[in-house]
Structures are given as C-alpha cells and as structure tokens.
C-alpha cells in the first residue's frame, strides 16, 4: 500500500486536553482582561464561600478550659460558658472575658455577621466607616471608652453600618456570595432544562418541535415580574422559592439557540454516519450534537448569569426578594436610596454589584472568544 501523505510524528498517548480545547484555552488566555477577571472572580468567589471565617460574630477557634472549640461551625449553648441562652453571643463582653480568662479566642478579621447589630455605633445608625472617626468618638460607646479592649480594629465597620447598625462590609461579602450562588444555580438549572428541551425539539423536529414551540410562545408571554409579585404575596419568599419561580421561565432563553443548532446539525454527514452505524438517538444527541450546541450555550451563559443576578437584586430592591434581614445587595441599594445622607451605603452597593457584573461579563467575553472558531490572535 502506498501512502503518499506524510505523517509527522507526535506523542502517541491520548492528550489530557484535546487539541481543540487546548486552542480554546489559549484563546481564552489571549483575552487578558477576561483571563484576569476570571482569576479575580475566582479568588473573590472562593473567599466568599468561606465568608463565615472572614466576617462572623463568632470566633473561628476558641480554647476554653483546655477544650478546643469551633464556634464558627458548631453551635455551643451559652450554658457551657456560664450563661443561660440557647445560643452563645460571643460578642458579649461577659462571655468573651469568661473565655479569655480560661483560654483564648481567635476572631475572624471582621467580627460581624451580616445580621449582627453593632451596639457600640458612635452615632445614630447609619454610622460612617470607622476610619472616619477619631479614636475618641469611635470608642465612646464602649464601657471603658478608649481603653476598652473591644474597641479594636476587629470591631471596625470598614464600610460603615446600615440603618439597623449592621456592618456593610460583612453584608456585602454575604450578599456577593448569595447573589453569585443564586445566579450560578439558576443558570445551571435553566441550561439543563433549556438545553434538553431544545435538543429534543431540534433532533426530533416535526410535530414535537411544532407543539413545543407553540407552548414556549405561550409560556414566554406570561409576564414574569407580575407573577413573581403575586406569588411572593402568597408564598413566604425564600431563596429556593425565588429560584424555582425564576427557573420556571428562564430556561426558555436557551431553547432557541440549542434547537437551531440541533436542527442544523442533525443532517450533518457525521450524524448520518453515526445513524448508519446503529448508534441510538440518545448517544447521537449527547456525543455528536451536544458539543455543537454547547458553543452557542456557553456563549449565552454569562449573560443569563448576569441577568439572573440583576433580577434578584432588583426584586430585593423592590422588597419582593429574599426574606427581610437576609444579606442582599438589592436591599443595600434600597437603604442607600433611603439614606442619601449616608453615601457609603449606595457606594458600597454600587461598587460590589458593578464589580461582580463586570467581572462576569469580561469572563463571558473571553469565553465567547475562546469558542469562536474564526477568532485569531496575533
């Protein structure tokens, strides 16, 4: 047998990342803004996942009478330290003194949980960021004044407090986490439903497609915001209820692109070739068609993600979102709007939200570049 085409030698083993994905990763990295945004976002997100160890009203670690305790993760009743409440308030000087005299405490860098009320605010809430006061004013409300050992940097309100004397920085950290998580879960859920629905329609076509399309047209004609307002009046609002309602409608966004991809690709020759091999429909859809649709879906993903985060924020802003008291960026914005004399509220909210959305969009842009087969970088 004569083979004229020459074969250049290359590693024989299976590469861990297919050449296609290697090229995509290289393209992604070539978009410097997106690449750095990804890192910054990942660092912030991972940090926020451990928010309990960064901003909490309980110590991370404590030693009390020779016993090592983990107050941040385990609830100890106050009886343990000589009190009588079911939940220990470690910020209470009585308890903290009791523990320090029988051992030690390691506090997180910020000693406020998002719902912790600071009882020592120097002026009526909302209070300015602590670094804007001199030490005298800052410590005025502590029992021992300037000499009080609790008037330290761990009890600072770096970004001030809101109108209920809760620490804004702590609320921002938790708010960032809940927003991103909400966005991610909602996006993943809608992608799962939307891609499956689109895949079915596109692959089988015909009546399946026709009926489903009409259903989607009717379904997407329902005004989501009104429905949300009505439902949140009936059901107690909560993270998962909100997620569920939003999920009911947000999957529709994916159907169009995925269906189009499947309709286009189901007549590709390699799909026919697979059919001729006797490959079952399910496998054809997964192995041969889904990768085609994935590109379109992944391009869409960041925008859906941002959309769901902004929806959650706006619902919170209107007061129909997460239950009162939750750490929410929308609520922070609302406080900012109500307390124009306290610009740190609106500013923090604005900075956190815009930073989060911009990072995600930049990452999305880079993802789109990565999956664009025609994109070349010099």
């Amino acid at each position: 047998m004569v083979v004229v085409e020459d074969v250049t030698t290359r590693p024989v083993s299976k590469p861990w990342l297919s050449p296609l994905n290697q090229r995509r990763w290289a393209n992604f990295k070539a978009n410097r803004r997106g690449y750095w945004s990804l890192w910054i976002f990942l660092v912030l997100f991972v940090l926020s996942l451990f928010a309990e160890f960064i901003a909490n009203d309980r110590p991370i670690l404590a030693s009390y009478k020779g016993e090592i305790l983990f107050p941040a993760v385990i609830d100890y009743p106050e009886e343990k330290f000589g009190g009588f409440y079911a939940v220990t308030d470690y910020r209470d000087p009585v308890i903290s003194d009791e523990i320090t005299s029988n051992g030690w405490l390691i506090w997180p860098p910020i000693r406020y949980h998002y719902r912790t009320v600071n009882n020592e605010v120097p002026e009526a809430a909302p209070a300015k960021p602590s670094w804007m006061y001199d030490k005298q004013t800052r410590c005025a409300r502590y029992p021992k004044g300037v000499d009080d050992e609790n008037c330290n940097i761990g009890n600072w309100n770096w970004l001030g407090t809101d109108d209920q004397a809760r620490d804004v920085l702590s609320r921002s950290i938790y708010g960032f986490r809940i927003s991103v998580l909400f966005g991610l879960i909602l996006t993943a859920g809608s992608a799962l439903i939307g891609v499956s629905a689109g895949a079915m329609q596109g692959y089988f076509g015909g009546w399946t497609d026709l009926l489903f399309q009409r259903f989607i047209e009717i379904w997407s004609a329902i005004p989501v915001l009104y429905l949300l307002l009505i439902i949140s009046a009936i059901l107690p609002p909560g993270f998962f209820i909100l997620l569920g309602i939003m999920l009911l409608f947000s999957w529709v966004a994916f159907v169009g692109v995925v269906r189009a991809e499947f309709l286009r690709a189901r007549n590709f020759e390699y799909v026919n070739a697979a059919r001729a091999l006797g490959v079952p429909n399910r496998t054809i859809m997964f192995r041969h068609l889904l990768p085609n649709a994935m590109v379109a879906t992944l391009t869409f993903l960041p925008f859906i993600l941002n959309g769901s985060i902004s929806t959650l924020t706006s619902l919170d802003f209107l007061g129909f979102g997460l239950p009162p008291g939750s750490a929410s960026l929308g609520e922070l914005l609302k406080q900012g709007q109500r307390n124009l004399n306290a610009p740190w509220l609106a500013l923090s909210g604005f900075v956190v939200i815009s930073l989060m959305l911009s990072l995600l969009i930049f990452i999305g842009e880079a993802t789109r570049d990565a999956f664009d087969p025609r994109k070349t970088f010099k």
Binding site: V3, S13, Y270, A273, A274, L277, P280, R287
Partner: protein
C-alpha cells in the same frame, strides 16, 4: 511571443499570517497570458492555484495575506501596487472572474436581470432600458433559452448549469480582456460541464478574450487550454504548450499527475456469487402537498421502481447526473430513509424492520459517505470515531481488545496507527476518507454502500482510494454498492453498472458492455461528456 503579454505575473509570492506564524502559500511564480490565449493553472488542492488567481484581483483577505515579492503587470500597471480605487476600475471591468459554486455566487434575493443590470449601470453608466436590452443579449449569448422569460427568475429557479451561465453573462457584461475562471465546472455534472466549457471556448474566440483557467481536472485542460502551468506546493514546476506537456512531461510531478487516473479493471461479473443485497421495485416518493388540508396532490418520484442485485465480492456501480436519485436509492437500500418495495439483505426481508430491529443488522451493512470533511465528527479523535460502532455492536470487548481492532483496521487502510489519538482536522482529505473507510471496515461488514467516496478527493488520491477499496473487497469478499457520477472511477471498480435518470433505470448490465457498447442515447451522451468532454445534442441530457 512578440507582442506584449496581456497579463504578466513575475515572482509572485503570497503569504498568510495567522497566530504569529507565516505560511507561504505561493512561492515566486511567474507566468504570462497573451491576448486571446487560455492559460490553465493545474494542481491538486492546496497547491496554491486559487490563491494565485485571487491575488491577480487582490481579492485575498488582507492584511492576513501579504505579497512578500512580485509584480502583476496588466495594461502597463502593477496591480499589486494599485490603490483600492484604481483596482475597482479593473475588477469586474477589464478582468472578471467566475467562481466554482454557482449556488452561492449569485444573490438569492435578487432576480438575475437585477444582478446583471446592476453591473451594467455601475461600470458602464447605462440607462435602465439600454441595460435591459443588453442583458437580454448577454443571456442569449450564454445560451439561456427563452431569455425573455428568464429575466425575472430568481437564482433558485435555475439549474446549476443555468446559474453558471448567468455567472458567465455577468462576467462578460463589461467585455473584459481577461476572464479568470476558478474551477467553473467542478460543481456541475459532466454533461453540463461539457456544455459550459464549449460555451466559454466559443465566447473567448468571439470576443478575443484571454482566459486564466484554474482546474484540477487534466481532461478539461487538454480540451480548453493553449498553455499549461503545473503547480504544486505553491510553485510552478512546469510550463509549456498543452500538447507538449501531455505528450512529453518533464517534471516528475507532472508525470505523477498524468499517471494518477484510477486504473485497472474489475474482473467480469460473476452471476453465481451469493446475493447479499437485493431490492425489488424500490420506490421512494416524496409527496407534494397543497392547500389548507395538506392534501397530497402529486409525488416527487426520487426513486421509481428500481431492481438491484449486489453480490458478494462484487461491485454494482450506480451512475447518473445529480438529481437522478442514485443516492436516494442507496439510502433506501441501507434503510436510512423509508421506501416501498422489497429489500432483501442476507436472505432477510428488511424493509419492514424498525430502527431498533435494524440495529443488529447495521453491523454488516455499512455506509461510506461522500465528504470526508463532513462525515467525521470534528470533536472526536480517530480512535473514538472508529470504535464507536464496536462499542455498540460488540459491547463485550475489553478496552485493550477494542484498541487492537482499531490498530488492525488502521493498518489495513494504510494509516499509521500511532496517529489514532489525533483529530480529523489534522489529516488530509485522502487520509480522512481512509478513516471513514476504517470506521465501516472495523465492524467486518458484508455490504458497503459507497456514496461518491472519491468525488471530494484529488485525482491521485482517488486512485489510491480505489486501489484500497478493491484490495479490501478481495480480502473480505465485500459487496459494494458504488454510487458515483464519475465514470472513470466506476469503470475502474464496478462489475455491473446501472445508469439512472429521473429515478428510473436507463440502462443496466455488465460494466464492460455498458462502457463499450452503450445502448441508450443518454448513456452515450454521458460517456462522451465524461471521457471526451463533448456535448450531446439538445434534449438528451439536462441543461
């Protein structure tokens, strides 16, 4: 040549820059075209012939493309040095171009008259009425019958050949001095190809144009060109008058190209061999529905009552123009589309089986598709592609056993098994077709339907693939249903041939008989067009 050549290309290089890497596509080529002369640039795909032609009009994607060296002298000016504005005066005016794909070269949303009139107005400043009259003349000139009626037709209402005629009319609208034809007949049937070539030749003589003809088909070159430039790997390796090149090729590559036609003849048909696949009265009718209730008013008879028999170790060739229903017949036999009639495979009637019941039989009934670029999933490695069928039909194989089968079959089709973890885009067209054949062969089928497996390949690669198929057939006693419009390949491979037209059999019989003594006018016209590039009298073949 005593007089100044019309177009003179000197030391032309073309380089493409992508991702920091620069590749030279064309490397310092030089050629001249005299007035009234036809020069052919011949070469296989990737040889740089189209790129050279496109650079004459600076139609390459600049700045990704660049010209490190060279001049293109036309009419006393260097085209490469001209600005965009001056170039536009040359493009479509003194030099025009026709492309390979008549499907995509015309705007589907404008009537053909609009598209021709636009050119006349733009370049010649003609008034509406005059432009319309001239358009009629042009359409008449390019041999469109009833041009009056065709003026307001949209491109989709025309056949491929007619569309290419319209493209030619557009190219001629400004009476160019040089016509660049980039594979103008590759997408057309052989019969139509002959007609278009005759038309081009006639027009060239009548208008005194020069022509730069780009093609991979040596048969066409012999027919139309005065001089030939043979290109390979971006270089012109041989130039000379057509006759000399064909009778006395100097360069090794030219000789290789000339010798590359599929050769050899299959043994005589053996009627005693076991029948593997047979179809009786196969019909594939697509309903035409009309009205509110979608009542079926008529049928498109893609395949209309055909009998076929394919025997073990033998090849049945199915020949016909595009639209004759040959692929539909193959797909119906392979149960990829539904049909009526009896299909008997291995002594079993399979036309009533459901998709799931068919699955075990698919193993012995394989298909190799036309386009090796489309038929391999770009996201799967060669190994994944080949073992996909094994995973379904022999699920009990261990990973190591499966890998061994993949290695064996790659050896068998002449590919290095070391390359099995690479992806299809890293292979050439011929290698990809080998992968597609390997995918079918790994299951050890008894019947293989080959749907134009060679038509997307270069001539020399075609010959190799034909050799490979013949070898595999002899080794495994395979039955082939070989569908092709390329009579040369059919002659080299088929024992029996059926000639199809409009869904029906025009002629059938042993290959030798059909090729040596064709009985019907249609078959004769097909042969003449394919082997001698001659046109048939009006009415026998489609237009």
């Amino acid at each position: 040549m005593s007089e100044q050549p019309l177009l003179s290309v000197r030391d032309l290089s073309v380089a493409f820059t992508q991702g920091g890497k620069t590749q030279t596509a064309v490397d310092r080529i030089s050629f001249d075209i005299a007035k009234g002369e036809t020069v052919a640039l011949v070469g296989e795909s990737g040889s740089g012939k189209s790129v050279s032609a496109l650079s004459v009009l600076k139609l390459l994607p600049y700045p990704a493309a660049s010209h490190p060296s060279g001049h293109i002298m036309f009419d006393g000016a260097d085209l490469l040095a001209l600005g965009e504005k001056d170039l536009r005066r040359v493009r479509g005016n003194k030099i025009t171009m026709i492309f390979q794909e008549p499907m995509t070269s015309l705007n589907p949303l404008h009537t053909i008259s609009q598209q021709i009139i636009e050119i006349l107005k733009l370049h010649r400043g003609m008034a509406d009425k005059a432009a319309r009259v001239r358009t009629l003349e042009l359409l008449n000139e390019v041999g469109i019958r009833d041009p009056q009626k065709r003026l307001d037709a949209y491109p989709h209402q025309l056949s491929g050949g007619q569309r290419q005629r319209v493209m030619i009319a557009m190219a001629l609208a400004n009476e160019p001095q040089l016509l660049i034809a980039d594979e103008p007949t590759t997408a057309l049937d052989v019969t139509v190809q002959a007609q278009i070539l005759e038309l081009l030749d006639g027009l060239k003589k009548k208008n005194g144009m020069s022509m730069l003809f780009i093609t991979h088909d040596l048969g066409i070159v012999r027919k139309v060109a005065d001089r030939v430039c043979v290109m390979t790997k971006g270089k012109i390796v041989e130039t000379g008058p057509t006759k000399e090149i064909f009778s006395n090729p100097q360069h090794e590559y030219t000789r290789h190209l000339l010798a590359a036609e599929p050769k050899g003849k299959p043994p005589l048909a053996d009627d005693t061999a076991k029948t593997v696949m047979s179809g009786r009265d196969i019909k594939v009718w697509f309903p035409i529905k009309e009205g509110f209730f979608r009542k079926t008013v008529d049928h498109v008879k893609a395949v209309d009552g055909i009998d076929v028999t394919v025997r073990a170790g033998q090849t049945l060739g199915v020949v016909g123009e595009s639209g004759s229903g040959k692929t539909t017949l193959g797909l119906a036999l392979a149960r990829m589309i539904s049909s009526s009639g009896k299909i008997n495979f291995n002594g079993r009637d399979i036309n009533q089986l459901s998709f799931n019941d068919m699955r075990p039989l698919r193993r012995e009934l394989q298909i190799v598709f036309q386009d090796p670029f489309g038929s391999l999933s770009p996201r799967m490695s060669v190994s994944d592609i080949i073992e996909e069928g094994l995973k379904i039909h022999e699920p009990k194989l261990s990973d190591a056993e499966r890998d061994k089968r993949v290695v064996d079959v790659l050896n068998e089709v002449g590919l290095d098994p070391e390359t099995r973890f690479r992806y299809p885009h890293e292979f050439s067209g011929g290698q990809r077709q080998r992968i597609a054949i390997a995918r079918a062969m790994v299951l050890k089928p008894r019947f293989v339907m080959l749907d134009e497996p060679t038509s997307a390949l270069d001539m020399s690669v075609q010959a190799q693939v034909v050799d490979l198929l013949r070898e595999l057939q002899a080794k495994h006693d395979l039955a082939y249903l070989f569908i092709s419009h390329d009579l040369k390949v059919i002659r080299a491979l088929a024992n029996d041939v059926i000639v199809m037209r409009n869904g029906q059999i025009v002629e059938s019989g042993p290959s030798r008989q059909i090729f040596e003594q064709p009985q019907s006018d249609y078959t004769r016209a097909l042969m003449a067009a394919a082997f001698k590039i001659e046109t048939a009298p009006v009415g026998i073949v489609s237009e």
